[in-house]
């Protein structure tokens, strides 16, 4: 494993992934704000949550990039399209498995069987994150494909 290359390109790809997701929120593609989603696990304060969540998401991106580079090492191949393919698989997993089970793990997220008790809660993302906007899956797929593509293109095999 080329640790220096992983550290560098894991960082870069996470920066790009975070920027794409934040940008797609900014242009009204999705309401999903990953740092806010993660940060509210620890605090109900919207501003603090975004700050904490930003670092968490960054750490997540770096950790997940390890799986990508491990795959490149095992296959002894690292190309942009292989990275993008892994990214698409990763995004599909996030949309179909991780987001729907999030309400069970997140202490401040309602689930769709919730109620009628109301507390200030986050809405559940639903299947494919569709409750956060119908174009949410598109932004997640694109962001992860580019995340994987950067890693695949620039990671140097050892």
């Amino acid at each position: 494993m080329n640790w220096t290359s992983w550290l560098l390109w894991g960082f870069v790809s996470t920066v790009v992934l975070t920027s794409i997701l934040a940008g797609s929120q900014g242009i009204g593609m999705t309401r999903m704000n990953i740092p806010y989603l993660l940060g509210t696990i620890f605090t109900p304060s919207r501003d603090k949550a975004k700050f904490i969540g930003f670092f968490l998401h960054f750490a997540n991106g770096w950790i997940f990039s390890l799986i990508y580079v491990a795959t490149f090492q095992v296959l002894q191949k690292s190309t942009w399209w292989l990275g993008a393919e892994i990214g698409l698989v990763h995004a599909t997993f996030v949309l179909t498995v991780a987001l729907p089970v999030l309400p069970a793990l997140h202490p401040r997220m309602a689930n769709e069987q919730y109620g009628p008790t109301v507390v200030r809660q986050l809405e559940p993302p639903g299947f494919l994150g569709l409750h956060y906007g119908i174009r949410t899956p598109i932004s997640v797929l694109i962001a992860h494909a580019i995340f994987g593509g950067i890693l695949g293109a620039f990671y140097t095999l050892k």
Partner: protein, 607 residues
Amino acid sequence: MTTKGPKIQEYALIGNGRSAALISNRGSIDWLCWPRFDSASIFGAIIDQKTGGRWSICPLGDTQLSRRYLDNTNVLETTFSKESGKIALTDFMPVTSEEKKQSFLWPEHELVRQIKCTQGEMELIVDFSPRLDYGRVCPKIKNAGKLGWRIDIGTDVFTLRSEIELVRHGDGLAANVTLKAGEKVGFSFSHSEEGPAVIPPLGESVTDKLNLTADWWRHWASQSDYRGPYERQVTRSALVLKLLSYAPSGAIVAAPTTSLPERIGGDLNWDYRFAWLRDASFTVHALFGLGYKDDAEAFVDWLLHATRLNRPQLRVVYDVFGERPSSERELLYLHGYAGSRPVRIGNAASEQVQLDLYGEVVDAVWHFIGETETPDRDVQKMLRQCAEYVCEHWQEPDNGIWEERDQRRHYTHSRLMCWVALDRILKMQARGQLHGISVGKCESERKRIREEIETRCWNPELEAYMQACGSNVSDASALLLAYHGFEEASSQRMQKTRQRIRDRLVPRPGLVHRNEQSKDRHEGAFAVCSFWEADFLALSGNLSEAAEVFEAALAYANDVDLLAEEIDPESGDALGNFPQGFTHLGLINAALSLRDCEKRAHELERK
């Protein structure tokens, strides 16, 4: 099977904070949509008596009927009595706290019915005839033995369990049973989208769920700190609002039904199973006014989340998760309520432009943050966007609060709410709660809006505020100029405006048409406008007349205190989707004004 169904006011509502069912006073569930308010119906006899589907439990022969909600709950009890005996039918959707739900498995959705013979004996007929997808699908009901009857449609599973034997009858199930004093029978109908489905137990479990449900509703009702006039009706209105709330997101839908007509036999049939921003300010005011802080906060959270994608532009209507409602479609195969066609699903109002929404949203946030709290950066950004948008666009025509589809106009109410938006934003800025707005621009635009309302919306010949700039049409929404603090209710102008509304729009005490166009179209009187009138009278210090109008309006509620969108001035029958959240919001806010004004009057007397 009858083709003439119950009157709209003969229905009552039960629900679980995610979905709702309408039950007629003859014991028939004629409307149920699962899993969400805006899902396709499973029972839809209310919009087509023949093919809509129903689940009825009623005695054989003529009986006397009475019904009530168990005190401060949304558990409905219908009593049928005749010489030979008396039975009570209890209907509810089980609810309890999230903590208690952890202790045993609950179906995703469940509707429970329990019949209890309290006197003598009585023969009952059960008719279970579900029709899925708005009556389009006659489902195959499979006998699963001791596990009940099952309907499998795609990934959805519906399960009916019964303590009496049901037999196939036509496309549905039926039973004929005689109950004697002391005997009781339970039914459970449930829905699951995930396998394996939970099979709800019957027997004592039904009574346990009934007790849990009644306890939960009573606990929720007890959180209200409202002590004042018409407490029973205010509590019922709060319970209706809670039934219209979608708990997972905090949204509140306008009504649980679609296409109950504004004119019997007419085509003014709309789908109200969505959340209207128009109701935002009234909703937050009512919920905070009653002391339901958590519910108000959940609603504002939904509001901020729902409007996130399109800001600074706001949509008129959103679904429970903040998406655009499905496009409007007509279901031409359905007969409609009392022949009122077409039945529509989805809502085209989502395409309209309503400038009043900015005032509604800003006013809701204003109530929400109060005098001390500072909104977070995201809310501040939204408020700044609203301020900029209103400054740029307030002079444009729109579809107005009543969503008129003929043409856009320069509505007085829309101008008023643009003024409200800038007024509240400037006040928040002055309190140090909001930063980064262009104070000079907001102040000058607020002033210009005031001038326009005072000059162009005021008709000097008719001596009243009119529906729109340069118009000679009266509109009940002009009463809200006082409600929102634009002008004192006691001012000469407002008193004259109210007098003109009274002359032109009040067909009889307690009823007010929303405007002259709706009166000319022979629509019903708009129920919320009666409460606006009572509210206005209270604000102008005329408490006895306010109480008279309030009580006259209450007379049009049904036997369990539910109100529709409109009232037929001739027959007094309910019209439009039912029950209507907007009307109940008007009731609560008018009662709050009456209480506050009475309190102030007493304090002044003491001094």
